[in-house]
């Protein structure tokens, strides 16, 4: 058999690989029984192979093996024959190839989903901690802490709510709540740090008024607020002192804040400077006046039972109450400005 014939038979006008092999065998002048003996196969199997009747053969693995052995016996390349076999018999099962270091993961740790879940869990945990911490701040164990030092608070027990003498001044108050005053009418006022720049004469002008006890508490407060102002010290005297509300400018800046607790309530108030702090549980009937620098960060527990008045005017807490806890920033100055604006006050 010449090479052209072999090639022709291999490439094939013949359809199946068995038929191609048969042609090559015949061209080489080999007998079927001789080939069967050489391949250790039964003649019927060899006939089936040459006729491409694979259903008469044991299975794909064996058929491929027989084809390979047959091709080797005849001295022809096996690959074209196997390719032809797969064309006839169906596609070759994809053999796993070596793709080392290209391992795909079903779900890798670098997977976007895994990362998102991880971050979600982390953020969730942080949020839980924050929520717990805030809750912890709202309802701590029953303790009352006072920030001492330069912090100032005017305090009075509600024994004499209406009595002018018991009116608190936003100056430093001793623990018994009574302003420290000289017997001769020269009250020594120790003002909060931001008010230390208060002109000396303004303080002196005012102290007799307070000592005289003729004015109402409201008036006194107005004067104190005014004293804290950079406005000329003489101004309050020129104005009628009996009607401080009529003077929007001092009233707006006075910002005297009264807190009255109807029931037991927990409170945390901090001023802008951080020097004043009121924190703790207030008993029913307690009254407090805020010192320090506005605005105040206010947290009130049991807020429905707390009433706040700014310069004697009640401050509406209801918009700030969430679940009986009020949380807001209280700035008496902006409050007064708003009020003035709403009243159409030219000032």
């Amino acid at each position: 058999m010449n090479p052209e014939e072999t090639e022709e038979a291999l490439e094939g006008r013949a359809t199946g690989p068995g038929e191609r092999l048969k042609r090559i065998r015949e061209a080489q002048g080999l007998d079927l029984s001789r080939v069967a003996a050489l391949l250790h196969l039964g003649e019927d199997k060899l006939e089936a192979l040459e006729a491409d009747q694979y259903d008469r053969l044991p299975g794909s693995v064996f058929t491929q093996g027989y084809l390979r052995n047959y091709a080797r016996l005849l001295g022809v390349p096996t690959e074209p024959l196997l390719a032809a076999y797969h064309e006839l018999h169906g596609p070759r099962e994809p053999l796993p190839e070596l793709h080392i270091a290209q391992v795909r993961h079903e779900v890798g740790s670098g997977h976007l989903l895994v990362r998102l879940i991880t971050w979600g869990i982390v953020i969730g945990l942080i949020a839980l901690v924050v929520i717990w911490w805030r809750g912890y701040l709202q309802w701590p164990s029953v303790t009352e802490s006072w920030d001492d030092g330069s912090a100032t608070v005017a305090e009075t027990v509600d024994a004499l709510p209406g009595e002018p003498g018991s009116t608190m001044l936003p100056g430093e108050i001793t623990t018994d709540g009574v302003p420290e005053m000289g017997a001769g009418g020269e009250g020594i006022l120790r003002l909060p740090p931001q008010e230390e720049a208060l002109p000396e004469d303004a303080a002196r002008e005012e102290t007799p008024t307070a000592a005289g006890g003729e004015k109402t508490g409201v008036t006194g407060t107005a004067e104190m607020g005014e004293a804290a102002l950079p406005a000329p010290a003489a101004e309050p005297e020129s104005e009628p002192k009996t009607e401080p509300e009529a003077m929007p400018e001092p009233a707006a800046t006075t910002g005297r804040i009264n807190l009255t607790f109807g029931q037991v309530s927990w409170v945390k108030i901090q001023d802008a400077g951080g020097s004043f702090k009121l924190q703790g549980e207030m008993k029913a009937g307690t009254r407090r006046v805020l010192g320090g620098t506005p605005p105040y960060q206010v947290v009130l527990g049991n807020a429905n039972s707390v009433s706040i008045s700014v310069d004697g005017k009640p401050f509406d807490l209801t918009p700030h109450i969430r679940g009986n806890v009020a949380r807001f920033t209280l700035d008496p100055r902006s409050l007064s400005e708003n009020r003035n604006r709403s009243e159409g006050n030219p000032f």
Partner: protein
């Protein structure tokens, strides 16, 4: 245990052909993902009481075989198909499992199926199981190598017909007759690629008075080794140390010499096959005679080994497609069957 399960979500199921010469890993749904020599290079740290550390594993370590300085030892932890050095095998497995999992964050904890020689003892099997567990496997299954090889070769193991498979590995050769998903007869002989190499080394020393290394012997076997006399004679030039002179010499070996050298180990394999055929129940023997013997494993790549067996047994002998990976692929298929059929397994699995 729970944590291992969680880590398992991020791991692939693996089928490991833990061979004496090569370790192959088949990852489920991905195919063969690792094919490396089972060699580990161990570095002895300097100083008294210095610990040991792994210097290299796999291909890199194989390059070091026979070429290491004093403080490094390149060892093959598997011998005759079973574990010879437990700790090093564990390290090697650990390295390979990590290599096929690129996961950085989570340590892999895959389900692992390991193929064991059918002749291995319970102690040897337990050692392999514990070694795989120590390397981080969540669950370890063992399957006998001939069964995995038959599945990997595509033999109809579930039919009520006898299929004979001969797996020639690096350390052992396994012959088995399988029918109805079970092993009817199996035998394991400790003859494999390594014995071929040793035979070549001995032949060269005896006939040439020259010592050659294992790596050279392996190269000779792969290039000109054959199991049956062929028409052409191939030659190869090798270098070795002349024992008489003590200096390296170069000489030429031809394929007929190698054929002669391999006669002894090859006869061991032929004997095993003949013994298997003898032991096989006649019905199954008839099936085998009709259909033939299927060869798998790296030894099947030795030139004309199928012809040798054909001549010796008078039966058709067929070489499986990609014989090197049959066992690993078969193991992988077994893992898939494990999931498909749940606990009720149709073949021997421990």
């Amino acid at each position: 245990m729970l944590f291992r399960r969680i880590r398992g979500i991020f791991s692939n199921d693996l089928s490991i052909d833990l061979g004496t010469a090569n370790t192959l890993i088949y990852a489920r749904g991905q195919g063969i993902v690792l094919d490396e020599p089972s060699v580990v290079a161990i570095r002895q740290d300097r100083g008294p009481g210095g610990g040991k550390s792994v210097a290299a594993v796999g291909e890199e370590a194989k390059q070091m075989l026979g070429r290491t300085p004093k403080n490094i030892t390149a060892i093959r932890p598997m011998k005759d198909g079973v574990i010879a050095d437990f700790t090093v095998t564990e390290k090697m497995l650990q390295h390979f499992i990590h290599k096929v999992h690129e996961t950085k964050l989570i340590r892999p904890s895959p389900r692992v199926l390991v193929c064991v020689p059918c002749g291995s003892t319970q102690v040897e099997r337990r050692a392999i199981k514990e070694s795989a567990a120590g390397a981080g496997a969540r669950e370890v299954y063992l399957i006998e190598e001939p069964m995995a090889a038959a599945i990997g070769a595509g033999l109809p193991v579930d039919e009520a017909r006898g299929s004979m498979v001969l797996d020639i590995g690096g350390g052992t050769s396994e012959v088995a007759i399988i029918s109805l998903n079970g092993i009817v007869y199996a035998n394991s002989v400790r003859v494999g690629g390594d014995r071929f190499d040793d035979a070549i080394i001995n032949y060269v020393r005896r006939n040439y008075g020259t010592l050659i290394g294992e790596a050279t012997a392996e190269r000779v076997k792969k290039e000109i080794g054959s199991a049956f006399p062929g028409n052409e004679v191939r030659e190869i030039e090798v270098k070795g140390r002349n024992l008489a002179e003590g200096i390296p010499r170069s000489f030429t070996l031809n394929s007929n010499e190698i054929l002669e050298a391999l006669q002894e180990p090859l006869s061991g394999i032929v004997e095993a096959v003949k013994a298997a055929l003898e032991q096989t129940p006649p019905e199954l023997g008839a099936d085998v005679a009709e259909r033939g013997i299927v060869l798998t494993g790296g030894g099947a790549l030795l030139r004309d080994i199928d012809r040798l067996l054909e001549e010796e047994t008078g039966l058709p002998v067929l070489i499986a497609e990609v014989p090197l990976t049959c066992v690993a692929r078969g193991g992988g298929r077994a893992l898939e069957m494990l999931d498909e059929r749940g606990g009720e397994l149709l073949f021997a699995l421990e």
